[in-house]
Symmetry: C2
Subunit: 410 residues, 2 copies
Amino acid sequence: MSVIKVDAELVERYILELGKFGAWGDTGVWRPVYTPEWISARDQFASWCEEAGLHVHQDAVGNVWGRLDGSESGKSIVSGSHIDTQKPGGRYDGALGALGALIAIRTLKEQFGQPRRTLEAVALCEEESSRFAANFWGSRAIIGAIAPGDPDRIVNEDGESIAEAMRAIGLDPDRCAEAKRDDIEAFLELHIEQGPVLEQAELPVAVVSGIAGVRVYRVVLNGTANHAGAFPMDLRSDPMAGFVEIAQTLTENARRLGRPVVTTIGQVFAEPNGPTIIPSRVEFTVDARHVDTDAYHQLLASHEQVIRDIASKHGLGIELDWFIDHEPSPSDPNIVRVLEEGASEQGIPFMTMPSGAAHDAQQMAEITNIGMVFVRSKDGRSHTPEEYSSVDDMTAGIKLLASGLHKLAY
Amino acid sequence: MSVIKVDAELVERYILELGKFGAWGDTGVWRPVYTPEWISARDQFASWCEEAGLHVHQDAVGNVWGRLDGSESGKSIVSGSHIDTQKPGGRYDGALGALGALIAIRTLKEQFGQPRRTLEAVALCEEESSRFAANFWGSRAIIGAIAPGDPDRIVNEDGESIAEAMRAIGLDPDRCAEAKRDDIEAFLELHIEQGPVLEQAELPVAVVSGIAGVRVYRVVLNGTANHAGAFPMDLRSDPMAGFVEIAQTLTENARRLGRPVVTTIGQVFAEPNGPTIIPSRVEFTVDARHVDTDAYHQLLASHEQVIRDIASKHGLGIELDWFIDHEPSPSDPNIVRVLEEGASEQGIPFMTMPSGAAHDAQQMAEITNIGMVFVRSKDGRSHTPEEYSSVDDMTAGIKLLASGLHKLAY
């Protein structure tokens, strides 16, 4: 196939201009869903879609779609990502995938004309829990995973429901179900890596083999508060001692297993949390991920066994449950192959790697075949104003995405 | 010597009546220094001293002394403890030692008349940091360790200085230095054990061989916050991983060394403390104690080495300092001998053990010979409304204290 020519100046201009909506300091963006900043970004995306000659419409939850009709009937080939951000986040996480889809489809249209299959670019809403504990809101609407009543039930720290926020900008929360799609053939998401693997490998882009399964446990260990001086070690029921042994064992086990296994203790609360008091209660989280389904479940089983055994050894009461739980989502083998071939043909150095982070594509996997392209992140940073990807790397990522879309749609 | 007869009904009545000042729930006491509840308790103590025929005076910081003059001139034999409490604490921590000193001296006076050496009972103030970060305030005044300006410098969470609190109840903070004493021959403190050792040994009382040295470190580990999914274990700079390995190693080492070594991680704060983010910063405390001076310093050196080595292994920035630091205070060998002989003569089963907790006696050791008597604590509990010691055990403790005072003063 011919070499695809992506306009690097356009990539840079779109990224910088979209980043102005909710700009935070020099390089950050703070753009919660359904706010004026988000509305401006959504409208800008829609306007650029129109400029590219795409048919634009907004769905029932506020996802914006730009459609390039194919010459044949059939399901669509879709690409996109989210345009809400962390608080604050940067210019790249999410935005690159929405703008990249638009630029890729615009480029294909300009260079190759009408596709055989319909192509769609989509800007998704509220992937990050930017304003409500409702992450993947846009993609969950598309797969039909929003239940009636959810918009009223989901209330943020200010006491505001997502239903109220939708109504305030003219969306009808009772119509969320209308956002459901059953006519998508494939979903390709371009995203920054959010890790240091590509930088370490000195590569601009990666084809993603699959998205890791993730379970995040909340563990509570209950012991007895006592005087740190007067209570001998051998008579204590000390949940901090239990916690540190559990956490040390879990992270050591994950390190020993090596990539792509990760296990993270991100959050801990001790009570009463005084310097000279043995704690009565320690609560902590365990985030465990693996991209292979069998290995993922072995990892979870092993972690749970370690937690229970050590709590029992220390004579501690235990509460163990989880509040995030996604099975691994392997990429579609055909999409992986198409992207790998595209990279070779376009002369883009790449590697194939799993995604440790969750993405909208993981939701979309419920209804369609998925694939992802990663772009190198400076220092592996994300969810911060310091996140950065070079224009060259982003352009290479969009070129790789376009080559995949070309193979699927032309 | 003759058997000393301590009135168990008086012990019970005094403990229950003093506990009414600042009563908290069924069995708790919340009695911060210089409050109306504390003033009532102080006045009650003074009134009981007068009733026992002691000369009463309050010193410059509010310690109340009841004096039984000896027939000979010379330094005093003093006993007492504090009457402020934790928030909330119980009826026994501190109060038992002040009331026990008063009852012991009253009993000796009734049974043996005037002593050779002057005996004094003292109710000390603000041992617990009950209202200000000013623990051992009363005993530090007696040893002359309060600097001019301290009363104005020490400000609590409500923005109130200890100087203001003193003035509000008629004490002059500029005269703290007048509380200094240089005429004390010995200080004996009766106190609840605050641990489970006597209960486990099925003994009512202990003679205390010395008070453990205690250093409480504040450690900060600095790493880099990153995405818990996208950042491989082998590329992380994770202060939580460093913390749990340090804490596990320190507590395991202390457990292996065995009694009387204790090491406690009581407090931990992580930032940003999110379930799916590798923390950037973990701050924690390490409380380390040992009663033997050489072994204490070996323990501290070993702990510091472990902290630095593991932080370095994980590539973490480190801040290490301490905010509590007391050397071990061995009891005076003569006082230990006198108390051990007294226990045998009075037929009181006992053991000799170190104190892991700090006490006013540790301050008093700066200016005089010290000794302590412990009374069995139910379930080893203290600093809680649930703390409890039986009337029989308290009476045995006061009898042992009285026998020691008798040997030193008659």
